[in-house]
């Protein structure tokens, strides 16, 4: 598997995606960003019905198609070939973004370059030196979806923290992130800042705090002040589906 932390800490990409997937309630309309968020579709429990929206004009997006069914005119927002499930609908771009901007999408899960403790998100530009800025639908999604969740590795490839007191890169939206699923922790963005909900196995609060660029609020500690590390196999969601 690619992208495994060099220190072998925490959750894998699939486990991060599964952590987020377990928190998506049945009946939700969900938009998944490119990268690790795309893996979430593979981890929705069988007893939940979740409908995936892709902003290029499809509600009811299915899995990657078999090669003989692959169609260059049936693609997802990442421009990869996809499929349509029973009950799917095609529509034009203004309708697609009416679904987003109009508040009809329940959950949008995106990747991040940086998240600030006040919920600001930076995920579209590396700043003034960006050789080719490209925004796509990210600003519309964060302005319109009911809930914005982030799935990202806790640090950049260079080891710098992505969770910060303030974003230093150009922002995508202000105060919009609700939850963050990283390889090291699951975090809720509250009015007081980053609140730890769950800690990955084989790590510690101290180590994760070291790797975070803002204070982590710890309200899920047990009587001894220790966070109970759970393995994914016995994990239950800190947010119960409605």
């Amino acid at each position: 598997m690619t992208g495994v932390d060099s220190e072998k800490l925490g959750w894998s990409r699939d486990e991060m995606a599964r952590n987020a997937a377990l928190d998506i309630p049945s009946g939700a309309y969900v938009n998944l960003g490119i990268g690790i968020p795309e893996l979430i579709a593979d981890h929705i429990p069988d007893d939940r019905e979740v409908i995936f929206h892709t902003e290029n004009g499809l509600l009811g997006m299915g899995p990657s198609p078999a090669p003989h069914l692959s169609d260059p005119e049936l693609i997802n927002a990442g421009k990869k070939r996809t499929s349509a499930v029973d009950g799917a609908a095609y529509f034009h771009h203004a309708d697609s973004f009416a679904m987003i901007r109009g508040g009809h999408i329940d959950v949008c899960v995106l990747g991040a370059m940086q998240v600030a403790e006040n919920g600001d998100l930076a995920n579209w530009s590396t700043g003034p030196d960006d050789p080719m800025p490209a925004v796509g639908g990210a600003m519309d999604l964060v302005a319109g979806a009911k809930s914005i969740w982030i799935v990202t590795r806790h640090r950049t490839k260079r080891g710098e923290p992505k969770l910060l007191s303030d974003c230093t890169l150009p922002v995508t939206g202000l105060g919009i992130v609700e939850r963050i699923y990283t390889d090291l922790a699951t975090i809720e963005v509250t009015k007081s800042g980053f609140e730890l909900k769950e800690l990955a196995p084989n790590t510690s609060l101290e180590r994760v705090q070291e790797l975070t660029g803002a204070r982590l609020l710890n309200r899920c500690a047990d009587d001894e002040g220790q966070i109970r590390a759970q393995s994914v196999s016995d994990r239950t969601s800190p947010w119960q589906p409605e």
Binding site: N56, L74, I75, K79, Y90, H93, A94, R101, D140, G173
Partner: protein, 236 residues
């Protein structure tokens, strides 16, 4: 008698003039009217402002139009995609202008342009560098950006089937910007993989009504951009 059928690609794009604003349908390769774009390369109109979500890939279609020096400005949401090298290179050399627009705002500015609405208020991009210089207004305690409508002289789009009235249906996610771009241009030129064998399409199943379409040219079995890019094809 109304008949939107046009017999050749060259005739279909013959009146595109230098300096025109041109909308080009498509999201990546899906819905990109590649044969119409190639006809426009043959036709040679220059100094075009092109409105399209992306900037093409490889050296065919929209990327080839840009490579041929016919485009002076792009209005788009995502100019860098896999296999798109032509636009990023011209942009880094300062040879082409870019107006970067959030994708939903781009769609709604086009929809507004086609609907006779001069501007819209959008929440997308508030507080970002893309909001710089834009007028804002609060509604219900939330800030919105004033975004002006986009209209065009010509729109080039790709449909699956058309009838002689110019009514169109699309194919899957190749619909994307087609229906809204069709409304926002003085002249919308569609390529369709098929002319309806019956006189007209089912009125209940029409996606773009013919009033928005100036002419339709049949392109049976259209080129597949990703196949051309994989093969290293170049146009012309």
């Amino acid at each position: 008698m109304i008949n939107k059928y046009c017999s050749s690609l060259n005739d279909a794009v013959a009146d595109v003039f230098d300096g025109a604003t041109l909308m080009v349908g498509g999201f990546g390769e899906a819905g990109s009217p590649i044969e119409l774009i190639h006809a426009l390369i043959d036709q040679g109109a220059k100094n075009l402002t092109v409105v399209s979500n992306n900037t093409g890939s490889g050296n065919v279609g929209l990327a080839a139009l840009i490579a041929n020096g016919q485009v002076s400005k792009m209005i788009c949401s995502f100019p860098r995609t896999a296999n798109s090298t032509v636009f990023p290179r011209k942009y880094s050399e300062g040879k082409i202008e870019l107006e970067l627009v959030p994708q939903g705002t781009l769609a709604e500015r086009i929809r507004a342009g086609g609907a006779g609405i001069p501007a819209i208020y959008s929440p997308a991009g508030v507080g970002t560098i893309l909001a710089e210089g834009k007028e804002t207004r609060e509604f219900g305690g939330r800030t919105y950006l004033l975004e002006t409508a986009i209209k065009a002289d010509f729109t080039l789009i790709k449909a699956r089937i058309a009838d002689r009235y110019g009514n169109l249906q699309y194919n899957k996610t190749a619909r994307n910007f087609g229906p809204i771009m069709a409304t926002a241009a003085n002249k919308t030129i569609a390529q369709a993989a098929q002319f309806s064998k019956v006189k007209c399409l089912d009125p209940e199943a029409i996606v773009t009504p013919g009033i928005f379409v100036e002419r339709v040219v049949e392109v049976f079995d259209p080129l597949v951009e990703s196949d051309l890019v994989s093969a290293g094809a170049t146009y012309p």
